[in-house]
């Protein structure tokens, strides 16, 4: 009796995974190229960067905010890391004298980009401007910074060590996928196992109550946006590594894809609800849908329509689930 109830509840809590599995099976039947190792690995690699952004952005959504800057931070980050890690032999180097070890280059990049997170967080927490506005502003600034820095030229010829992060494999698993898994694991751990996670849940659910309960709302919010920017900067490094160059036009609309994935994964925009397993499923669902439509040759414009429908549909379902409870 008890076991049966649990199974039912388990199904209800994991509807999104059921949908994903169903989608996966349908895709495998619809196109025989879908279930090849090359295809699956390519889907995973493509979605990993969006995924890393999503496990950052979901925190902002959870706290009843939003972050629109990650796409632009990806661009800036890819430019900075590329400029610091061009091959020494390359004659047209952007910064001729510079030859830093790759880890140092990455560190510098991440630190610079994370400053945008501090700015976002501070604006939202202390000046109380809506997150939408604050991060829209930093989005424009970050993208412009990337363009000014590079004069909008791509920065090619990166060191192999850096490219390995985006193109290499460890034990036949793409490195980039491993990094995504790490980020998802860390995010999930923070969400359920740390004080910070509980704080953000409470802030998203009722920030006034959280404050009265002794939570430092501002500090926590700043950290939320710092984490999101950190994720985005790592995403930018990986994008440069994967594509082999830094580009100020990179990462366009990535934040929207990440927001979509978090949303489809059940992160509530009214705050206070988020599960890492849901967000991962959301990323995979959107990735598989994109991929299968490409494989069966559907017009790219229709792909956008389908994506839009999925996002709206998932939120409607979510709302209905909440309503039915009453």
């Amino acid at each position: 009796m008890k076991k049966e109830f649990d199974a039912k509840r388990f199904m209800k809590d994991n509807t999104i995974w059921v949908i994903f599995i169903a989608l996966f099976i349908v895709s495998a039947i619809a196109n025989r190229n879908f279930l090849t190792k090359a295809n699956i690995s390519s889907v995973l690699m493509t979605e990993s960067i969006i995924g890393i952004l999503a496990v950052g952005i979901m925190w902002c959504i959870l706290s009843r905010g939003i972050d629109l800057s990650p796409g632009a931070i990806v661009a800036l980050s890819s430019c900075i890391v590329a400029s610091l890690s061009q091959r020494p032999e390359y004659v047209a180097k952007m910064l001729p004298g510079v030859n830093l070890p790759v880890p140092v280059a990455i560190l510098i990049t991440v630190v610079i980009c994370t400053i945008f997170g501090i700015i976002n967080g501070a604006l939202i927490a202390y000046t109380k401007i809506p997150a939408f506005i604050a991060t829209l502003g930093t989005q424009l600034i970050a993208r412009a910074a990337a363009q000014l820095y590079t004069n909008a030229y791509p920065i090619p010829e990166l060191k192999p060590t850096l490219k390995f992060l985006g193109q290499g494999n460890i034990a036949s698993i793409p490195v980039i996928v491993i990094i995504f898994i790490c980020f998802a694991a860390v995010s999930g751990f923070m969400l359920t196992q740390t004080r910070f996670g509980k704080n953000v849940f409470a802030i998203g659910g009722n920030d006034q109550a959280a404050r009265v309960a002794g939570i430092r709302v501002e500090k926590n919010l700043v950290f939320v946006y710092v984490w999101s920017a950190f994720c985005a900067s790592v995403g930018g490094v990986l994008l440069a590594a994967r594509s082999g160059s830094g580009n100020s036009a990179a990462g366009l609309n990535y934040e929207l894809d990440a927001i979509a994935a978090a949303t489809v994964g059940g992160t509530s925009h009214t705050g206070g609800v988020c599960r890492i397993s849901g967000v991962i499923a959301g990323i995979l669902i959107l990735g598989v849908v994109k991929n299968i439509m490409l494989l069966v040759g559907i017009n790219p414009y229709w792909q956008q329509v389908v994506k839009g429908l999925i996002i709206i549909g998932s939120v409607v379902l979510d709302m209905r689930k909440n309503l039915r409870k009453d």
Partner: protein, 495 residues
Amino acid sequence: MSEYILEMTGINKEFPGVKALQDVQFNLKPGEVHALMGENGAGKSTLMKCLIGIYHRNSGTIIYDGQEIDYGTTSEALNNGLSMIHQELSPVPERTVTENVWLGRQPMKNKLMVDHRKMREDTVKLFEQLNVVINPDEKMKYLTVSQMQMVEIAKAVSYNSKIVIMDEPTSSLTESEVSHLFDIIRMLKEQNVGVIYISHKMEEIFQICDRVTVMRDGQYVSTDNVSDITMDQLITKMVGRELTDLFPKTECEIGEVVLEVKDLKAGRMVKNVSFDLRRGEILGFAGLVGAGRTETMEAIFGLRKIESGSIKYKGQEIHIKCPDDAIKLGIDYLTEDRRAKGIVGIRNIRDNTVLSCLSRYGTPLNQARMRADTQEYIDKLSTKTPSQEEEIKNLSGGNQQKVLLGRVLLTGPDVLIVDEPTRGIDVGAKSEIHALLSQLAGEGKAVIMISSEMPEIMGMSDRLVVMHEGDVTGIIDRSEFSQELIMKFATGVTE
């Protein structure tokens, strides 16, 4: 036609895991005030929500004005003459009082445009008729809880309903406002309106109600004429046992001063407040609405900016910047505004209970300990809930209050400030909470209790600080307590 305007019979309602109502009956005559009583979680609010279409009953019949009804939405109920003042207010904070009153039914100039002039005039007229003095153009968020409650009452009356349901309307009103409400109720009676009155305050039932129906654990117990029943009988029916002492105050040794507040000034509600608090003492704070009691405590707790004055804690001057500082020092505060500043509605009971002491559980969080601590306070306060995993918004109002009380007790404060601690709490649980506060004082803790309920504050306090418009007008020792003296100070007469 029957003498009843409303007859509910055999009502059943189930939520996942909870049978909230089992075979409940209730009826109402036109022009009568019918009290609905029972412990927290007895199902009173749920029964009323079934009536006005917020919930759907699983079975049972409701006959209203000679017809069987089954409303699907509240607007349907409102249009048919059933209005309700909800236990948990839900104002639109950014809009004006006027707009809140006419929300969703604004008078129109034509098909397209709202008639703002008429809307405002109607509000003024309504407030005049009911003797409510609140500026109709004020934004809702600037009102005090009790003013919001008065707006809500006015709003319910403005529907010209045949039945007005009042779910704990007085839980945040002071005595004078309560008598104001009673005038309004008498006016409704004269107009032959039936009033369903839910309250945990015994005296009110005997003052204003004609009949009383008691519920316990989702079941119907009895209906009596108020004139045929004594208070003790009523309490026994509600809690299913006899209750000996409503204010189990134990005299305990009063120790040294722990908190010394001097010339505190914080905004226009706290002008000049000085008092000291000793170990083992329950210090009551009395006053009318706008006296600045809550604001004083919020200033001490770091929720309001202090402009001048000093606070000494255990002999040292302290500067609290935010609640976190206060809690770390051992000062904790239970808010009066449960819904806005207390609960995190969509999170479960456990998360709500441990919220103030998360640092205690380490990283990764020790889930087992969190569960044990939560259970301890569920048991201690006899909170009624199917499980710890229940979202707190699904609990009855009184049980939400118990969870919040558990949250502050869990931090183990040396100075506990409770603001209307028994608001919306049933008689049985109330005396348990009073006993708990007494016990804390006995352990050498110091308690500050704000309450607008005279019997409670007089029954529980060792000393009383009375405030009026931001100033302390008098401090009274227990031996000199009298309602007259308190009212004298509360209305601004100083010593």
